[in-house]
């Protein structure tokens, strides 16, 4: 390892560590501050006494948030979209990656289909025509609007094609000699040999589904169909009183106070934090694959 050879002089080493520590602190601080706010009393938050530790510790904000049916409802929508959307994404990714990983000798249409999908990354119709197509296909206000229009993550297909191509051809050829068809080769050889990258892609699409907010915001007309991030967008970031009843407005006053806001934000972060250790483990795999040359 090169670290041993190029060890820094003592003083420089200390300065290096201190600066890195400060950088890490700057990264962690906003998140810790939000956690501290969510566990402090509203009065302590309002008087600006909260920095990194809770002041007048209370879990009242969480109780309040978890008793809000709209919050629970949208949390459920988000969970459901992850549970349904991730398998849909992954199945389509695998089914497209396999044919595109064939050689042109075996599958003459390979390049045609590769470009068919690649073009959609390079050029798009833009927001408005896309919105009108989704509306024409009758998905407005339907749960499936969150799943179907984005069902094929083309970039993940590219990563998986590269993975499949790096698996030694001899394995497939030997299987083909024994009479294995395409489905057998895909399920018995390629998929079992690509488990790490498949796990990585699964985590990535799960995070993407959990974090999506814009589709819910413009494709759902009634807020009770919003996924969590769209719901948070409307109550925390961009409350629009024009669309609210008086009861909702009164509720908004309470749920938009600082401690409840912080509690809602923190709850929305929890699923990401739970899978973060796994995300991190596969992170490097994913990045290295991204730069694999075809």
């Amino acid at each position: 390892m090169n670290q041993k050879i190029v060890r820094l002089p003592f003083l420089q080493n200390i300065i290096n560590l201190v600066i890195l520590g400060l950088i890490a602190l700057v990264c962690a601080f906003p998140i810790l501050h939000t956690l501290a706010l969510s566990l402090s009393s509203a009065a302590a938050a309002a008087s600006g006494r909260v920095t990194i530790w809770p002041v007048d510790f209370t879990t009242q904000s969480y109780t309040f948030v978890l008793e809000n049916p709209a919050f629970i409802k949208s949390f459920g929508v988000s969970l459901l979209r992850v549970l349904v959307g991730v398998p849909v994404n992954m199945i389509l990714t695998i089914l497209v990656a396999y044919p595109l990983s064939r050689t042109i000798q075996k599958f003459q249409m390979r390049d045609f289909f590769a470009w068919f999908f690649l073009i959609t990354v390079l050029f798009s119709g833009g927001l408005i025509p896309w919105y009108m197509v989704v509306r024409q296909t009758g998905l407005i206000d339907r749960f499936w609007a969150l799943i179907i229009p984005g069902a094929l993550p083309v970039f993940n297909v590219i990563l998986l094609v590269n993975t499949f191509r790096n698996i030694p051809r001899e394995l497939e050829e030997a299987a083909a000699m024994d009479g294995a068809g395409h489905w057998t080769i895909l399920f018995k050889i390629l998929i079992p040999m690509s488990i790490p990258i498949l796990a990585t892609l699964t985590l990535f699409v799960a995070v993407a589904h959990w974090n999506s907010w814009f589709d819910g915001l413009i494709l759902m007309n009634s807020p009770d169909k919003y996924p969590l991030q769209s719901y948070l967008q409307t109550v925390i970031i961009n409350p629009d009183p024009r669309f609210m009843s008086e009861r909702d407005l009164a509720l908004l006053q309470v749920i938009s106070n600082r401690t409840t806001r912080a509690a809602q934000i923190f709850i929305a972060m929890i699923p990401i934090m739970v899978i973060y250790p796994f995300l991190q483990r596969y992170f490097v795999t994913g990045i290295k694959l991204g730069s694999v040359k075809g």
Binding site: N2, Q3, I5, L8, P9, N16, L17, I19, L20, I23, A24, V26, C27, A28, P30, H33, G48, L92, L95, V96, P99, R102, K106, F107, F113, F116, F117, T120, F123, S124, G125, G126, L127, I128, P129, W130, Y131, V133, Q136, T137, L152, I158, N162, H182, V207, N211, F214, Q229, S230, L232, Q233, I236, R258, R261, I265, A268, M269, Y276, I287, K288
Partner: protein
């Protein structure tokens, strides 16, 4: 016939592709047809078949909008600064981390700085709106301790673009750092050994071994980001801007959203979107050409 038996053998491949092909035809290719709306005055309920043609009127309208060139400039300015900061900060942090001998310390710092990459801009906007508030935000409170007057980070149009760059760096530099770190670990340790034998100083080692070692990665990521120069970050700006900062913070994507989705001027919004798509396509094409030439990068 050999060709026919080959086709029959490949029938499963077409079956595998079919669902995705249908979905992509509907949700990616049909909207491309919808681009004709850029040349129409789209009437509610008439769609793209019943609306009258206005040819280049929408584009003329866009060019005469007093804000259009300002918006274009804002987009380029914010995206350009983000690109530069998005190289400098991760490279510096990666070099610093590479000098750390304690594995536990290195790992902790890495864990902390990657996390924001996985959080959505809705969540981060919720956090930043709170901590950057001029009245009760903790950042201005801390600045107050050292005698700096409150800064309206999200409401002052002179500060807003810089706030966007800073918060974007905050979210994404951890991701960049890991990319450069993995490039750094690929450098042959023998090079450093040889340099030490030759009496090269730390600074010279960085200059002549480390930086050239990761130059390929830097060039590749920089050229690829060229294709994003009209993407100043819709998710971020949409969640953090307000009419107070339209003069410096409004970007092409937010303009399309407001004219199209909020004001229902579908034709005009599609025209602006088309302008962006075409310019982006040209830039992405150039970027991939350059990346292929300088860094031997291949997408497929």
């Amino acid at each position: 016939m050999q060709a026919r038996s080959k086709f029959r053998q490949n029938i499963p491949l077409y079956i595998m592709l079919a669902p995705a092909v249908i979905l992509v035809l509907i949700y990616s290719y049909t909207p491309m047809v919808g681009i004709v709306m850029a040349f129409q005055r789209v009437l509610p309920g008439k769609g793209i078949f019943g609306s009258p043609w206005v040819y280049w009127d929408n584009f003329k309208f866009v060019l005469q909008m007093p804000t259009f060139f300002q918006v274009l400039w804002n987009t380029l300015f914010i995206a350009g600064l983000k690109t530069i900061a998005g190289i400098l900060v991760p490279v510096t942090v990666a070099l610093m981390l590479n000098n750390v001998t304690s594995h536990a310390f290195k790992r902790t710092v890495q864990t902390v700085i990657y996390l924001p990459h996985f959080l959505s801009w809705v969540i981060l906007a919720g956090i930043f709106i709170d901590i950057l508030s001029p009245s009760d935000g903790v950042v201005n409170q801390i600045l107050g301790w050292v005698g700096i007057h409150p800064i309206f980070f999200l409401g002052d149009d002179k500060v807003f673009p810089w706030t966007m760059v800073a918060t974007d760096v905050w979210k994404s530099f951890g991701f960049g750092t890991i990319v450069y770190l993995s490039a750094l670990t690929d450098i042959d340790p023998a090079l450093y050994e040889a340099a030490v034998v030759d009496g090269a100083s730390r600074w010279k080692q960085t200059l002549y071994i480390t930086l050239p070692g990761i130059a390929g990665t830097i060039i590749m990521l920089t050229t690829l980001s060229l294709g994003n120069i009209l993407n100043a970050g819709f998710d971020q700006i949409f969640n953090l801007y307000s009419p107070l900062v339209y003069s410096t913070g409004d970007i092409i994507d937010t303009l399309v959203y407001r004219t199209g989705i909020l004001n229902n001027q579908y034709g005009v919004a599609t025209a602006v979107g088309l302008f962006k798509s075409v310019v982006s396509l040209l830039l992405i094409g150039t970027a991939y050409k350059l990346a292929a030439k300088f860094a031997d990068y291949r997408l497929f």
